[in-house]
């Protein structure tokens, strides 16, 4: 592209009429459409346009900018127009409308600035498009005033059984969606038919989560989902402590009852932690909701702190973990002391 331009210059310096013809032929490429539209607004005809382009080309720093712009344009024409370029076009048109007296200097500088700005933005967006977009969306919707139809959406996306925002929605064969849990208990207690239309529900089909819907809900109602998740985690932690046992086998000589209690409390905390960790892990894999991760991390930290506090807050004699910690500390001290003695 760069090698082409000098030849054109030479052409023009040779015979103006030939150059004019040539340029008239491919004016589409030679003169940028923006420039053309601005010129048309000013009431210029084809000839004036070409002359003006010469003027622009002849001034050194402008010509360089022009060349760059043209190369940009050529590049753009080969690629399908992205939304960014479309927007730019619209902007430019607006600006040209705003400036009925075409001050080329101004327009070009303006466009330069605009394009630089846009390019920067575009690069940024390309760098972290998905994450950024989602973040924006969640930010937009977290205050839930932005969307005028948010109430309708809430109605639409809430489960008919618990009347809350669907948590892990599951869609029946007849097309109705409910929380997975709600649908399961409805099928267990009220027979295998859709609560909304009474059609039969297929075997086991109601156990799968409608991923698209679930992601949509998580994007639209992050707060509600988080609240429900917290509630369910709490319930889980209370009702069914996980069977996984932490390696905590140093409490043989301890009081049996208190040890068992301590163990259970710890296990519950751990299970809660595990659940939240699993969730965050899954979400990370799904590549969504950095906000949620942060919240999960905060929750995990809080739980850990609680655990820590409970371990040390409890009487030192009975609590196994604190005892083990103490013994560890003692061992460390002993080791340090021995090292010091050896020296």
């Amino acid at each position: 592209m760069v090698s082409e331009t000098p030849s054109r210059f030479m052409n023009r310096s040779g015979d103006a009429s030939i150059a004019r013809e040539k340029n008239g032929e491919n004016a589409e490429i030679f003169i940028s459409p923006r420039f053309k539209s601005a010129a048309a607004l000013a009431g210029w005809d084809e000839e004036d346009l070409i002359i003006a382009s010469f003027v622009v080309e002849d001034t050194p720093e402008r010509s360089s900018s022009k060349r760059r712009r043209r190369s940009n344009l050529l590049f753009k024409s080969s690629t399908p127009p992205s939304s960014g370029s479309l927007r730019r076009k619209q902007r430019v048109q607006q600006s040209s409308i705003r400036l009925p007296v075409v001050d080329l200097d101004k327009v070009i500088r303006h466009e330069e600035e605009r394009s630089a700005e846009k390019k920067k933005k575009k690069r940024e967006i390309e760098e972290k498009r998905i994450g950024n977009d989602e973040k924006k969306l969640s930010e937009q919707n977290s205050d839930s005033v932005v969307l005028p139809c948010i109430d309708k959406l809430r109605d639409e996306l809430s489960c008919a059984i618990c009347l809350e925002i669907c948590f892990e929605p599951s869609t029946t064969t007849c097309g109705h969606s409910f929380c997975k849990k709600c649908l399961r208990s409805a099928a267990d207690k009220c027979g295998r038919k859709c609560p909304k239309c009474r059609q039969l529900i297929g075997n086991g089909r109601y156990c799968t989560v409608n991923t698209v819907l679930w992601n949509t809900i998580q994007l639209l109602f992050p707060k509600e989902v988080e609240a429900q998740r917290a509630a369910s985690v709490n319930l889980k932690g209370k009702e069914t402590p996980s069977p996984r046992n932490p390696p905590n086998q140093r409490l043989r000589s301890r009081n049996r009852e208190t040890a068992a209690f301590e163990d259970r409390v710890q296990r519950e905390d751990l299970s809660r932690l595990l659940v939240s960790e699993e969730r965050s892990e899954r979400r990370r894999r799904g590549g969504s909701m950095r906000l949620d991760q942060d919240r999960d991390a905060a929750l995990a930290l809080r739980l850990q702190r609680q655990e820590f506090a409970s371990a040390f807050g409890a009487t030192t004699a009975t609590s196994s973990s604190s005892a083990s910690n103490l013994s560890l500390a003692r061992a460390n001290l002993r080791a340090m002391a021995s090292r010091a003695v050896r020296r």
Binding site: A160, C162, L163, E164, C182, C190, K196, L235, E239
Partner: protein
């Protein structure tokens, strides 16, 4: 119906109050957090307050969330016009998976309501669905004011009269409305 010592705190329905529905195993959880049924009932209450169905109102009787009282005003153009009919609503502990129990407290001359106030409305029995709400139940009850169902009556005598001599039936119904529901 006021529970002793239960000031402000929502307590689950004592199982004795609604025989046939045994309390769930996790009833001890309900002390700290409102159960799923309680949550749902609270939601329905909020919804009812925001936009109640026409001629209907409902709400908890005391501080027990599971025991409601509802009123339906006799719709215009029927023989129950102008009457205010009270209903008792008792939610089971596994609501919404089991239907609420609805009983007329005001006497009414209607082929679908027996002398004890029990209704023969299908959605309150076999065709109950957890997707139904109290709003819909009240609407269904209101619809039997407008259009009785004489082919599935609780009181066949009234149904027969309704089918054979509609004018007489309406006259009696008006009289009962005037006598009991005003």
């Amino acid at each position: 119906m006021m529970t002793p010592g239960g000031s402000g705190r929502l307590r689950p329905l004592p199982t004795a109050m609604y025989a046939g529905y045994s309390g769930t195993a996790s009833s001890w959880v309900a002390k700290t957090s409102v159960s799923a049924s309680g949550k749902r009932i609270q939601r329905e209450m909020a919804e009812l307050n925001v936009n109640p169905p026409p001629d209907c109102s409902a709400g908890p009787k005391g501080d027990n969330l599971y025991h409601w009282i509802a009123t339906i005003i006799g719709p215009l153009g029927t023989s129950y016009e102008g009457g205010i009919f009270f209903l008792d609503i008792i939610f089971p502990s596994d609501y919404p998976f089991k239907p609420p129990k609805v009983v007329f407290k005001t006497r009414i001359y209607h082929c679908n309501v027996d002398t004890a106030g029990n209704l023969s409305v299908e959605i309150l029995r076999d065709s109950w669905s957890p997707a139904l709400t109290i709003t819909k139940v009240l609407q269904a009850i209101r619809s039997i004011f407008l259009k009785p169902e004489p082919y599935s009556p609780t009181l066949p005598v009234i149904a027969r009269l309704y089918l054979s001599d509609r004018e007489k039936h309406d006259e009696v119904a008006k009289e009962w409305t005037l006598r009991f529901a005003k």
